[in-house]
């Protein structure tokens, strides 16, 4: 009896918190058939938002992957003073509110700060422009690649790499032929996590982008802006598109997730 009671409580909770809301948005979007959905997503603004989102997420994922691999190798394979500090700093972004991330970047790279002003003088605009949005996205995604790779690198050990070295492989060859294939699945997992997070980031990007329609508006910003302007159809359509991306990446991570005990 207790067992069934618990099951009912859990299912009810999840029904009202998770399943109904998500089901409803699909129903609302497609309530009038797929036509309006497609129309709403093919307006100039929507397409532009798609494009901005892809550019920002693409750069952020590339940077985050390079940094993630480097940091993971340093943390697992190398010894240096301040290693624990580096490790702690990498996890720090998880504890920071997206809005605070945005504020932090504005304070350093905004046009009225010394660094931002200096860059502005050289024609490089960070805040209210793509670089700032990339920085914000990198910030919020920072730990994802590192933390996906580190356990696998530890598990793998360094013997295969040493064996490659005794066989004549240099540092880069060892990395490319031995280390990289060993961490491939974990790296893929981390990249998908980062990509999903990057595509869906809202708060940090909202602060640093200036939210200019047709310029720095990402898809998440588009959802909010359309909703506030009572264009609910477009808002729902974009939200559903993002939800589909989220579900796809969720499924991808399930496939890529390192199996326990293997």
């Amino acid at each position: 009896m207790a067992k069934h009671g618990m099951r009912v409580i859990v299912l009810t909770y999840l029904l009202f918190l998770l399943i109904l809301p998500i089901g409803l948005i699909g129903w609302r979007t497609f309530g009038d058939g797929p036509g309006p959905f497609i129309d709403a997503l093919t307006t100039h603004s929507a397409l532009h938002a798609f494009q901005v989102t892809l550019v920002v997420a693409g750069w952020a994922v590339v940077l985050n992957t390079l940094f993630g691999v480097l940091a993971a190798l340093l943390l697992v394979r190398h010894d240096f003073p301040g290693k624990r500090l580096l490790s702690a700093l990498i996890d720090l972004p998880l504890a920071v509110s997206p809005v605070v991330v945005g504020l932090a970047l504005i304070l350093v790279y905004g046009a009225f700060s010394p660094a931002g002003g200096w860059l502005e003088g050289r024609g490089i605009q960070i805040i209210f422009s793509t670089p700032g949005m990339v920085l914000a996205t990198v910030f919020v995604c920072l730990p994802l690649v590192v933390r996906s790779i580190v356990p696998v690198l530890e598990e793998m050990g360094d013997e295969q790499e040493q064996a490659a070295q005794t066989l004549g492989a240099g540092g880069w060859q060892t990395f490319r032929r031995i280390t990289l294939p060993g961490i491939r699945a974990a790296l893929g997992y981390g990249i998908v996590l980062s990509l999903a997070r990057a595509l869906g980031e809202y708060g940090a990007v909202a602060v640093v982008s200036g939210r200019t329609v047709d310029q720095t508006q990402t898809l998440t910003l588009f959802v909010e802006e359309r909703f506030e302007n009572f264009d609910v159809q477009a808002s729902y359509a974009a939200a559903l598109a993002l939800a589909v991306i989220a579900v796809a990446s969720l499924l991808a991570t399930k496939l890529l997730r390192p199996k326990d005990g293997s």
Binding site: M6, I25, L89, E154, T174, E224, L250
Partner: protein, 301 residues
Amino acid sequence: MSETTKSTTATLDEKVATAGPDSPPGGKGRSVRPVGLGGGAGGAGGTAIGVGIATIFLSAVVLIPLAAVIWKGASQGPGGFWDAITTPDAWAALKLTVIASLVVALVNLVMGTLIAWVLVRDSFPGKGLLDLLIDLPFALPTIVAGLVLLTLYGTDSPLGVSLAYTRTGVVVALLFVTLPFVVRTVQPVLLELDKDMEQAAASLGAGNWTIFRRIILPNLVPAMLAGTALAFTRAVAEFGSTVLISGNVPFKTQVAAVHIFGQIESDNTAAAAATSTALLVLSLLVLLTIDLMRRWGARRG
């Protein structure tokens, strides 16, 4: 517990408790040597270059910007900082954030553990799908999460339950985005829990409730608390999901992150920095607590 934290699932959006690099590499007791990018015994130079690049990157993206927030927040001295976070609207927002996050953390503690329990020990059709859905709040962009909830609990709610522009609405939004934390930290522990212990207790005459209270619960507590603390930090920091459903009503439904956003929009960065510093300190304290708890757990197990 160290095993637990290691096998704890990484999920979209957030990576729950992670195995730190301070745990021995590979568990084989080998010393850490420069290999890979460094290249053999002569890798000290490679290490230095790598650390240099990582430090510069981390400084540019994370360290200097966060330092700037604290610098700005503290620029008016302790008195100025205190004045900035105790203006009526800032204080109300901080108070709402902390109280709502505490409520959310407690609900997660109970419901998250219960969900984990049902997912591990119960079986019914569709359980696999449900297990998959648990991670959805991490995968879903927060603004979409907010929109989704507003659809069901907004002013034209098909259920007739309107939570829009209410504190309850804020709590529901926070519950949605923090759902996976406790579930995903407790679940692996429950999976690895030795059934022999329960059977031994049963053979010694312990009833179901006693077994749960005396055998299972003590093993789950570290994971439950770690998950709850993570849910709390996430709730404190949350922005996107609360924007739409809260309606951003000062003194009523405005959470701290939304308040900071408003201050930035009105170019009041000093006030925004002060409130941000308060949030940062709060999150760091909780993270520190988690770390201490993890060490305590690792020592026990």
